[in-house]
Amino acid sequence: MSDGGRLSEGNCGDHDNFGRSIAQIAVAQVCESLGFDGSKQSALDSFSEILIRYVSDLGKVSKFYANLSGRTESNLFDIVEGLVDLGFLKGKVRGRNPRVSEVVKEIGWYVRSVEEVPFKQSVPSFPVPVKRSTVPSFENIQETPPGKHILSWLPAFPDPHTYVHTPVWNVRKTDPRTDKVEQARQRRKAERSLLSLQQRLSNWVPHGPQQNRLSSSRLLQNGEIDENMSENGIGSKEVNSENQVLVLEAFAPAIDAAKNGFFDSVDGERNDVFLNKRPAIHFKSNFGRKLLKEPLELSLQKKGVGEITPWYGRDDNNDKKRRAEQILKESMENHEELAQL
């Protein structure tokens, strides 16, 4: 009953669009076979609605008759009775018992008279059932339910971690340390490879002092080589007329530092070492200064102090500092002397 009512409402017909459109096509086909050339849309809509309602009503009535006879499944006789109720035998003799034969006659006549007009398209069976993912039961998971009062076909309990706050152990305690060690190792590897590259390049440098200078200047201009190691500058300069021995000498402190791996503490020592080397550098090349205007970053020093000072300037600063200290000391001594006085 409510179905019929709902069908009459035009508002909530959205969920039934598929069935309705199929009914429209069927109705249109019947009309066309009878001789209609066209149809108004409103007429088609209402006609398809009538078709749907007729089918539903027929189903309802036959169900009713089946239930009346104490059955749940309808059979031929129920349908026949339903048809009679819906006016199938209009105008014919009614009230006779063998209604079935009448109906059968009618339908038989119709089937024979009308030519077969099958539905134009193949219709899939609808409505398509929606598959819903269900919670698995104890049987599905193959767990034994806790407690005998819980049957195995009931849905399983959720995992304990979803409702119990269990402590989370941080497994990675030593990882940062190992990471740092790894990083340092990789850095050293990179530096070693750079050193070897430098050595190879120095071997490759052609003979002759001026040419060497040019080549070394080219090497200096190549930013890649300068980048990580200031020793590159030293090394390339050393190559001027000398050989790999000087290169190795120049790199010896760096290599030692790299091997030791203690960048911070070695800083002072390295500075001293470099200071020792400095006079040679100054003597060798003036053009080096121009080229070395950019401050060279020492990757070795980066991790440590992090202060970047240009090579050529450092000397002066240190001298100034020493002088300042000396002056202070002297002044202190003077003060004391004065005080004493």
Binding site: I22, S33, L34, G35, D37, L58, K63, I107
Partner: protein, 150 residues
């Protein structure tokens, strides 16, 4: 003896009937109705009709198709009648509109005839009235359809 004979005849009659019925149903399966089986199956399942037999679904489909074609043919009659009436008025245009178009007017007239004919009213059984809605017989329902302005 007479009774036995009658019973025998009756049983034979019933057997014939059964045979006729099964034959009829078999013939039904040969005919493919315009209304697809899936559509019919869906709507009668919706209304509570439970039947595993495909032939009965075909029967419903054929019966519905018969009903629809009857209504449509009545509407066609109306349409043609209107056209001929129009032609009578205006003799200039011999054939005003060759095209036969199904309109709401013709449809509602055809339905009115079908459900309001005196022969029809007698066929209503009280069961039908109970099932079909708050009030009424089928005729009332159709009136409601008209009132809504289809």
């Amino acid at each position: 003896m007479n009774q036995n004979q009658q019973v025998n005849e009756g049983s034979r009659g019933r057997q014939d009937d059964d045979a006729a019925l099964s034959e009829f149903l078999a013939s039904l399966m040969d005919y493919t109705p315009t209304i697809p089986d899936e559509l019919v199956e869906h709507y009668i399942a919706k209304s509570g009709f439970q039947c595993p037999d495909v032939r009965l679904i075909r029967l419903v489909a054929v019966a519905t198709q018969k009903f629809i074609s009857e209504v449509a043919s009545d509407a066609l009659q109306h349409c043609k009648a209107r056209q001929s009436a129009v032609i009578k008025d205006k003799r200039d245009k011999q054939q005003k509109d060759k095209r036969l178009v199904l309109t709401m007017e013709d449809l509602s007239k055809a339905l009115h005839e079908k459900f309001h004919s005196p022969a029809m009213i007698g066929a209503q059984s009280p069961h039908a009235m109970v099932d079909f809605g708050e009030n009424d017989a089928i005729g009332d329902r159709n009136e409601r359809l008209d009132v809504k302005g289809w």
